[in-house]
């Protein structure tokens, strides 16, 4: 799987690149299979034929490969490397159900949160209910996020679920953790993603349409949700976005499209606010008015999001970057998904229930 993603990244370079030109790699994974817990990155790099190259595994829950990308970017910025690789991989489908339930719960606070009996959907469900309570948002808004992301994913050849769902069906689906149904949640996914980064002044050697990283922000927060003052926002994502915007020198209204971390539908609503597309408590209005649809004011998750494209935990961060880069190059797979004339794109990645977050801004 990682080999396939690697080959596809190499082939996707407009010019040509010798894989040996890559100087170092960072690879995100939660290692949910548990088959290779230590030293995963050297194994993967060896398997793509680059044994000997420095390679490092990054684990920051669901934001693992967003962080891998950040370090690959920083290595170039520091002047140490000219070309680096950021990737991610997760294999979840061949695990028995109870092992998946085990792995999925280890990215929040274990001692006082998980061992009180709550699971991941439960944590986001409690955030959703508090959000609805404080901001008077209706459950329909959550379901609308799922409907939109399925609609986009249905047209993405890389998506796991390629079927549309109706609002009615999303609302009537079985409860996973009240008020969230199975359609408010992302699926269990196998996947891999690879990005190749290059120093800005060398990029013209490989492509005529380089996409530049103009902002990279990251932040952390209290791991346990009971230690957070406000449960209706993801403070780490807010900080990461603020930092990325500051570096990029752009304003939220200048962003043409965003891929955000919709592990649960409520997370996308909060992401609208953390990325500055909506004011606090107003995220629901954005989806209600269709502003985040393709063709709307700020298309969000044109690739289908985690919801429909799938959420292979360690690979998700780079897979969001892949979608944004393709969109900015005007090469979205399946033309009906192309956001026309997009110049500035944003990726928003959240680890666990908000313990870590990483935001990148790109410009064509």
């Amino acid at each position: 799987m990682f080999y396939e993603a690697f080959q596809s990244a190499i082939n996707d370079v407009d010019g040509s690149i010798d894989p040996k030109e890559i100087k170092e790699a960072w690879i995100g994974s939660l290692k949910t299979g548990g088959a290779q817990l230590g030293n995963l990155a050297p194994l993967l790099i060896e398997q793509v034929g680059l044994a000997g190259m420095p390679a490092c595994s990054i684990e920051n829950a669901c934001s693992s490969s967003a962080y891998a990308f950040r370090y690959a970017y920083m290595a170039i910025k520091s002047g140490i490397c000219d070309i680096t690789l950021a990737g991610g991989v997760e294999k979840m489908n061949d695990l028995p159900r109870e092992r998946n339930r085990y792995w999925l719960g280890v990215s929040g606070d274990v001692e006082w949160e998980r061992l009180a009996g709550t699971n991941f959907p439960g944590v986001y469900a409690m955030m959703a209910l508090r959000y609805m309570h404080e901001h008077g948002m209706k459950r329909e808004r959550l379901a609308e996020v799922a409907v939109k992301n399925h609609k986009n994913g249905a047209r993405n050849p890389d998506a796991q679920f390629r079927s549309e769902i109706s609002l009615e069906r999303a609302l009537r689906a079985p409860m996973l953790a009240y008020p969230l149904t199975v359609f408010d949640s992302c699926p269990i996914t196998d996947g891999a993603a690879v990005a190749i980064l290059c120093r800005g002044d060398l990029a013209s050697k490989y492509t005529d349409t380089p996409i530049r990283v103009i902002g990279s922000g990251a932040a952390s927060d209290y791991l346990a949700i009971h230690d957070r003052k406000d449960l209706t926002t993801v403070a780490a994502a807010q900080k990461a976005a603020d930092e990325a915007y500051k570096q990029a020198g752009v304003k939220p209204k200048e962003v043409d499209l965003a891929e955000v971390h919709d592990c649960f539908t409520i997370a996308e609503i909060m992401a609208y606010e953390n990325c500055g597309f909506a004011g606090k408590g107003k995220g629901g209005e954005l989806i209600k008015n269709g502003e985040t649809e393709i063709g709307g004011k700020i298309p969000v998750n044109a690739g289908g999001g985690l919801k429909s494209k799938g959420h292979p935990i360690g690979a998700t961060g780079v897979s969001q970057i892949y979608e944004v880069v393709k969109q900015l190059k005007g090469e979205a797979r399946e033309k009906t998904r192309q956001v026309k004339g997009a110049e500035i794109g944003l990726t928003h990645s959240v680890g666990g229930s908000g313990g870590s977050a990483c935001v990148h801004i790109f410009r064509r």
Binding site: E98, R130, Y222
Partner: protein, 142 residues
């Protein structure tokens, strides 16, 4: 498969789990619970123990659907099916995550703001030792 909190590690938190002993910050006076290395508010590491009343209000909650619980709670779900988990805002200030007990796991019967109090119940079993700790029950129910 279970996430592992060893018996000694669990025993170290018996004061919190059975008796709700919290850490009051000597510098800013806020109450930290569950205990932390440094104060949530000011970062100080200087605390004194205080006992919490165990009374509080539901800040938010959820109902964990059938078959979705963390694996440690499989036995519980086999017996009771879905169950309610809440964040409780204790009257002394801190928030805790805990199961609700002695009430129906029905979203129409549980309300944000509802008064609850702590009771000691069986949480889960690991290494053949039953782990007990606090759950919360509605005060109106007695």
């Amino acid at each position: 498969m279970t996430s592992y909190v060893s018996i000694p590690q669990y025993s170290n938190t018996i004061d919190q789990r059975y008796r709700l002993i919290a850490k009051k910050c000597k510098s800013c006076e806020i109450i930290n619970f569950p205990p932390r290395q440094t104060c949530l508010e000011c970062g100080s590491a200087d605390f004194q123990n205080v006992k919490l009343s165990g009374r509080g209000r539901i800040y938010t909650f959820t109902i964990i659907g059938r078959g979705g619980a963390p694996t440690e709670f499989d036995d519980l779900q086999n017996m009771t099916g879905e169950y309610a988990v809440a964040i409780i805002e204790l009257e002394e200030g801190p928030k805790v995550v805990a199961q609700l007990t002695d009430c129906h796991s029905n979203p129409n019967e549980i309300k944000i703001g509802m008064e609850v109090k702590a009771v000691i119940r069986r949480l889960y079993e690991q290494e053949r030792i039953i782990r007990y700790g606090y759950k919360f029950k509605p005060i109106a129910d007695g």
